[in-house]
């Protein structure tokens, strides 16, 4: 019987959070090893488990998977969240890539100088409202279906709801001009596996705080 996937990362969101979301959405249980000391990271490197000396690392199916997008693509394919053909797959890829561009801005904010924080967050909100959210609102409007691609739950829906919830943490009314996205958020949140992940006690991580930033800098010797 296959062992559960094992995730190696800091105890926080960062680049691993999208992987946690996708596993949870697929109803796959996983274990986590939290990196707190630089010696743990050095051991992973020395043991040759980090292809390019970086985390996230996911051990599953006899493989040491690194590179966030490669891991997510593998999970999407394995758990049937990647559409039914190449045309659906490329649409899912495009939507995910766009969403991840936005999320990357949010992910990097805690590591930037504190005096730039307000400005960064304002730019993120602006980009979200001008460039990204209208696109997804239009996609939902044009086909009138429940899910972004192929009338079926996919990785694109998981990535988008993760991004929406992160943005609402920055700006609670960010969806005020996007009624279909509001309905999308409600709908996706009530899918049983997602609902479970959104409950307290799940493996979903908290927004990054100073302790998280300090841990990352210590472990990676930044």
């Amino acid at each position: 019987m296959a062992a559960k996937p094992k995730l190696y990362y800091f105890r926080g969101r960062g680049r691993m959070e999208s992987i946690r979301w996708l596993l949870a959405a697929a109803g796959v249980e996983f274990d986590e090893v939290f990196l707190e000391k630089k010696e743990q990271f050095e051991k992973l490197e020395k043991d040759g488990r980090l292809l390019f000396g970086q985390v996230p690392l996911v051990e599953m199916d006899g493989m040491m998977l690194t590179q966030t997008r490669a891991i997510l693509s593998y999970l999407a394919a394995k758990y049937n969240l990647y559409g039914k053909d190449l045309k659906e797959r490329v649409r899912i890829d495009m939507y995910v890539d766009g969403t991840m561009d936005l999320m990357m801005m949010i992910m990097l904010t805690p590591f930037k100088p504190p005096e730039e924080k307000e400005e960064n967050l304002a730019l993120i909100v602006k980009k979200a409202k001008a460039r990204y959210l209208p696109v997804f609102e239009k996609i939902l409007k044009d086909h009138g279906e429940d899910f972004l691609v192929g009338n079926k739950f996919s990785w694109a829906d998981v990535q988008l709801i993760e991004a929406i919830l992160m943005m609402e943490e920055i700006n609670a009314s960010i969806l005020s001009d996007f009624p279909l996205l509001k309905a999308f958020k409600t709908r996706i949140s009530s899918i049983p596996t997602i609902k479970k992940f959104l409950q307290p006690g799940s493996q979903r991580k908290q927004p990054p705080d100073q302790h998280y930033v300090d841990t990352v800098k210590h472990v990676l010797q930044l």
Partner: protein, 222 residues
């Protein structure tokens, strides 16, 4: 009959160059529409041809594809540069993701302040020689095959060769300590489709110069 793919981008390497490499390696002829003025870009944006208002954009198979990685995956999948099963595909993906991280430094280089550019060449050389090249050298040495994955040409080989050649333009002896990569570079360069792409008169773009940098600022500066 399928019409040829059409690439929309400034007349230079940037993020489109990997896509030109992948199409060329697959033996696919393509057309290009070069963005030179802001008006051209705005026409694409206002006409809703760019999903997230950005280029690269590739018209192919009745779709307007954006997001470099999505486009590369589509080409790899369609033209059999993505391995023979999910495990090979995931390895290729991991290798490509890592290489693209290194290539990103090369892409951004012309846009750094002149004082920072020399320092960055040192930085990218270190990254290449300490983090990326040893990994690929070991992979090639361990399996003794010509190609990185599955004993056949894949996107991983193409993007790695692109990156090696781009680095060699700045640091001619960068492969000195990597005999397997030297051999790899020669062998992959001699594949007929790639050899053709490396000849004068192909659609391979020259290294970025001041004119290219000026065009990019004209098009994209806020």
């Amino acid at each position: 009959m399928d019409s040829r793919p059409k690439l929309h981008y400034p007349n230079g390497r940037g993020r489109m160059e990997s896509i030109r490499w992948a199409l060329a390696a697959a033996g696919v002829e393509f057309d290009e529409e070069f963005l030179e003025t802001r008006e051209q870009l705005q026409r694409l944006q206002n006409g809703n041809h760019l999903l997230f208002q950005q280029v690269p954009m590739v018209e192919i198979d009745g779709m307007k594809l954006v997001q470099t990685r999505s486009i590369l995956h589509y080409i790899a999948e369609k033209y059999h540069l993505f391995g023979s099963d999910l495990k090979e595909k995931t390895l290729i993906d991991m290798y490509v993701e890592g290489t693209l991280d290194l290539l990103e430094m090369i892409i951004m280089h012309p846009f750094l302040k002149p004082d920072d550019q020399q320092k960055e060449v040192v930085g990218m050389t270190q990254k290449a020689v300490l983090r990326y090249f040893p990994v690929f050298e070991k992979i090639l040495r361990d399996h003794g095959q010509t190609f990185l994955v599955g004993n056949q040409l894949s996107l991983a080989d193409v993007i790695l060769l692109q990156t090696i050649l781009a680095l060699e333009e700045k640091v001619p002896h960068i492969l000195t300590s990597f005999p397997y990569l030297q051999e790899f570079s020669v062998k992959i360069s001699n594949i007929p489709t790639i050899r053709k792409f490396l000849e004068p008169g192909s659609k391979k773009k020259p290294p970025p110069d001041d004119s290219y940098v000026r065009t990019v600022y004209t098009l994209f500066a806020p």
